[in-house]
Symmetry: C2
Subunit: 316 residues, 2 copies
């Protein structure tokens, strides 16, 4: 299909904004891209990789005449950005975002959206632990999911254009309510990040085991947690400030289950342990089968020299 | 250096035993390898990849005349194996193991070691989430650490031969007490595995979010946990049964810290959250700098097509 946007405006050019700009240009989806960011230094980085056609420190100027505006800033910054851009949004434009929390985005931005502007919030479930314009790359959204959470009354044509946009970037798209989205990400993303941040923090504070020992011996499990615990601190602060209820609900479940497991360790209940550990193995298989994980031992970290051992432990 | 073992006996040919056999042969360290395992089917798998010179269902027969015997079975199985092999161990032989818990190994095996046999317990900190002989590969130990925990009275020559053996397989070697080892692995390995098993189990039991949704959207964080939660269930059951005190101690720390974090989320303490999330980022950098993790975004999962974005988000 041919899908063209006259002018795309991206407010924020971190990992996600930068990747959208690169992907949209590569796919030939946009005639013109403008980007805005608050810090001059970040804007220079964007310019250094030729990310857009125009560069702005003023978000309002960037959205002028834009057909599609996507807010790519931490969730905590959306209100301020919206105050700047709302008066400059073109009637008929689509306004979207990429925030990891959607209930908050609806509550804050919903009442601020000018009449005639179509509000289609989104959440591309893609990223790496790196941040900033230089961390972006055009393949980021390929084979990932993007969730859109428009209110039922929103213009169908606008929603279907946003679906098409994300599909062109390589993503699968799913529509759901903002509340359900927030519950889904609380367990698939927010609680895992919280737990990872927490265990990395615990290690930082130990006395009986030195930090250098943890670093040395981290390949035995710990290092897997450090990847997501290296994600952008401000973005994640805002996630926990704005998705509090769903996070606390899912964290409560996690803690309940952990108490049961702690007790199984304390009383030496081998059957309970083995039964859980067997059950969890199957879930990874399902994720691999769903194409959401690579089928290689150790995330493919180990480069295998011999090509003849690709049976059980096979590489992708 | 030239280091040769006349006969190496491996009891157990899972991921670790199989990898030792393959690495030792490739490096030309052994004149002869015998392997033993309880199940005929596993032995056939070992034979199918030509793992050894002789194959046994009787561990006692395998250790006959062996100069180095390494137990590569789950920690819970060592007592039974030792009963079979103790009368057949050659005087002057070195007896070692690869168990993830060392205090228990010392307490159980120590008193059973025949006079004249040198007992040098070890723990190669290497592995993948796959198991069985076919999952083994000779590069598994390269650039990994192996911890040895011999008692102070053990023959120095035997200890230094074990150090040399692991170095030849590509590992760095460190000596420490069994108790300290167990504390180190409790935090670097056992609690991370327990937490990963737990969160994967929590997901399995939810009603508000379907399992298929978790699988679909797992790339947003959850899937990182599923790798270690796919590790061998019996091996891990035994780890938690035999390293109980250190695990409960470290789990207690983790839970204390998590309560503080939970409270920060509940009261909306953005400063506390951002400060922790900033601190944890540095630890991953240290692990990468120590050569214990690859320096690629998203564990290098994403194959980058463009070669010009290797700055901040750079590949290895």
């Amino acid at each position: 299909m041919t899908f063209t946007i006259g002018k795309l405006a991206l407010i924020g050019v971190g990992l996600i904004g930068s990747s959208i700009a690169q992907a949209a240009r590569r796919k030939g989806l946009v005639a013109q891209t403008s980007v805005a960011t608050r810090r001059a230094e970040t804007l220079e980085q964007a310019r250094s990789i030729d990310l857009a056609d125009s560069y702005h420190l003023d978000a309002g100027a960037a959205v002028q005449d834009a057909d599609l505006v996507i807010l790519c800033v931490p969730v905590g910054a959306i209100r301020g950005v919206m105050e700047e851009i709302a008066p400059r949004l073109k009637p008929g434009a689509i306004l979207s975002d990429v925030g990891s929390v959607k209930g908050h985005v609806h509550r804050v931005l919903g009442p601020m959206v000018p009449e005639g502007v179509h509000f289609v919030p989104g959440h591309p479930m893609a990223g790496t632990e790196h941040s900033g314009p230089l961390a972006g790359f055009p393949e980021l959204f390929e084979n990932r999911w993007c969730i859109l959470t428009p209110e039922p009354h929103v213009d169908r044509e606008a929603v279907s254009r946003m679906c098409a946009f994300w599909r062109e970037l390589g993503s699968d798209v799913e529509l759901m309510s903002a509340d359900h989205h927030d519950m889904v990400v609380a367990i698939t993303s927010h609680v895992p990040h919280l737990v990872a941040y927490n265990i990395v923090g615990t290690v930082d504070d130990l006395e009986t085991v030195s930090k250098s020992e943890v670093i040395k011996f981290s390949a035995s499990g710990f290092r897997d947690f450090t990847r997501i615990a290296a994600s952008d601190p401000v973005m994640w602060r805002d996630v926990f400030l704005t998705n509090r209820d769903a996070v606390l609900e899912m964290l409560g479940r996690f803690l309940e289950d952990l108490s049961v497991l702690q007790r199984a360790v304390r009383v030496g209940d081998g059957e309970a342990l083995e039964s859980l550990f067997t059950r969890t193995r199957a879930i990874r298989r399902s994720i691999i089968d769903a194409g959401q994980e690579i089928d290689a031992a150790d995330f493919g970290r180990i480069q295998r020299m011999s090509g003849d051992r690709e049976g059980e432990g096979g590489a992708t």
